[in-house]
């Protein structure tokens, strides 16, 4: 059994070491793959706040991933065509600046999470899973038929958006940017889990009636968790869109929601680094298994089954055992 914090440190070390190796070995694509893993990890860290801490099994987080993506797509599309997003009630122009795009992604997905959360949290259990799924489908079909922004074809952005002081087209610089954001998000998630809010949310997941008796509103706690969660997943969506320089309704599909959830389960639910380990392993599997056989989904499916059936607590749970009591 390894101590969880050593495993976490090792994971972070891998995220630094592998790209360095890739540069020296002239394998730039490995950096792209690692960027993909980092972006997925951010999305899953976001979901983990709702799922792991709040116990909200959301099968609709693709909504926020997609909204983040479209926030990037739409802003950059207007910037590259020199058209205004809207002229009424006030002029909004497109932009190719990442910080602005991130802000837009976070704001839009938070608002969506607020509305979806208010409606969905009236239900619980299976119904919650299903209503979030339904919201995901709503956005998916809307995006498909939204001809102005490419509908099913999606939107291509020819040049990656810019970040002051960096050349984002250089894979390693963009990777560094994403990794930096992942670290920030992890820091946030870590502080959150030990904060007064985290304590209350944790209790709201396990014994909502107790939280109520303590004078707090468990539903409101969960709603705030859902909004924070959606905002982070939205940020990941914007990064994902920039990684691919492309957005499409696929980002809204329920399979995307499922995949984000898979990252968490693979790594370990409620563990700080669960989503990170899960995303890294998933991207590696996708890459290697995809090269092995046309039918690689079978192997992926079998592996997932084994982990769900026999591996309590995901990969981290298998390696580190039960979660330690934190001080």
């Amino acid at each position: 059994m390894i101590r969880e914090r050593y495993l976490n440190a090792l994971t972070l070390a891998l995220f630094v070491a592998i790209p360095f190796w890739a540069i020296t070995a002239d394998e730039p694509f490995t950096i792209t793959l690692m960027t993909r893993a980092v972006v997925f990890a951010i999305a899953a860290v976001g979901l983990n706040i709702a799922l792991g801490l709040g116990g909200l099994v959301s099968l609709g987080h693709a909504v926020f991933f997609g909204l983040g993506g479209y926030a990037m797509g739409i802003l950059a599309y207007h910037a590259q065509n020199y058209t205004a997003l809207t002229e009424w009630p006030f002029l909004i122009e497109g932009t190719k600046s990442m910080p602005v795009i991130w802000l837009a992604a976070i704001v839009v997905s938070s608002l969506a999470a607020l509305v979806i959360g208010i409606l969905s949290l009236r239900t619980a259990g299976v119904y919650f899973i299903m209503i979030t799924l339904a919201f995901g489908q709503m956005f998916f079909f809307f995006a498909i038929s939204w001809a102005e922004y490419g509908g099913e074809d999606g939107l291509s952005i020819y040049v990656r958006n810019g970040f002051p002081g960096l050349n984002t087209l250089d894979p390693i610089q963009f990777y560094g940017l994403c990794l930096g954001l992942l670290c920030l998000v992890l820091l946030f998630a870590w502080r959150l889990s030990g904060s007064p809010f985290g304590l209350a949310l944790n209790a709201a997941r396990q014994v909502p009636v107790r939280v109520e008796t303590a004078g707090l509103d468990p539903v409101r706690l969960k709603l705030v968790a859902f909004v924070l969660s959606g905002a982070i997943t939205g940020l990941a969506g914007a990064l994902f869109a920039d990684l691919n320089r492309f957005v499409s309704p696929t980002m809204f599909s329920w399979q995307t929601s499922g995949e984000i959830m898979i990252f968490i389960i693979l790594g370990g639910v409620g563990r700080l680094f669960g989503p990170v380990v899960g995303a890294l392993v998933f991207v590696a599997l996708e890459h290697w298994l995809g090269g092995l056989s046309d039918f690689w989904h079978i192997y992926l499916g079998l592996l997932l089954l084994v982990i769900v059936l026999f591996g309590r607590g995901g990969l981290i749970g298998m390696l580190c055992g039960r979660e330690a009591v934190h001080d």
Partner: protein
Amino acid sequence: MKFVTLAAAAALAIGLSSANAEPVKVGMITTLSGGGAGLGIDARDGFMLAVKQAGNKDLEVIVEDDQRKPDVAVQLADKMIQSDKVDVLTGIIWSNLAMAVVPSVTAQGKFYLSPNAGPSALAGKGCNPNYFSVAYQNDNLHEAAGAYAKEAGFKKTFILAPNYPAGKDSLTGFKRYYRGELAGEIYTKLGQTDYAAELAQIRASGADSVFFFLPGGMGISFLKQYADSGIDLPVVGPAFSFDQGILQAVGDAALGVKNTSQWSKDIDNDANKAFVESFKAEYGRLPSLYAAQGFDTANLLLSAMAKADVTDADAFRAALEAADFPSVRGKFSFGPNHHPIQDIYVREVIKEGDVYTNKIVGTALSDHGDAYSDECSM
């Protein structure tokens, strides 16, 4: 370590001795798993057949599965360009994937030869000197269907397509050449499998004919239900719903339907006959439109390789523009925006023994280019 160096040197020596041109590396990104895998597999098989027949050792092909996901396709393109250092990319079936991949590929100075998708955005303002559509511009087959409908004297056609960009382009393409009146115009849900409601509308509309564009499983469902509904109007559509791969699943319901295609297995020329025979011999099935497009794409590439070195982009581009290869379609040349100028035929679905297939019954449009080349400046 020493051994490795020696081996590498030997390999280099062999490489140099067997060819006078630089080897060309091709990355093929296509759909090999999931729902639309049949199309990608056909395109790949057609492409590889031509490569095999040419026996050109300087051509190396890397094939990867995009799972019909745009983000995977983009990632594969990055990998092929960054890691595998490919010179040319090809293989994408779906327009939305092409839109995701092609602009960034050409922006990085690589060539892209499209064996199927030809979205209008890449034919007009978004055209690029390094992008060639070897199949068609997306509107072409629909325009031909419109031309056929005019020719056949249809006065009141009911038209329908899925509610997504290619569907809208399709109806626009049809209307560009059709001169009659429309009995109705419907956009269906993408991926819809039940068309009872649409059939009822067709029945009630007083139409004298039906045009539909419903690729893949949607078309199969529509045709089966159409045949079962008792509506007895002539149907016309682009080749996609009548292709070799899916006709067997439609069965009798498709018999007699007219469809438009730039290729058919009975086009009378030597290249085509040889292609159909060798494809059957190699894979044990009849080739499809996608297989033919893959085959032509590979032969176009091979013809350019014979004329120019891929490292000399301008010369290689000129060699591609010349399109100096025996197309299975017969006459074939590129317009100013690197999209085909070719004949588009009207085919009819027939049954040969136990197998459903198509035969040519006429030509809808001759030497047909596309509507967007004026917008292209290159």
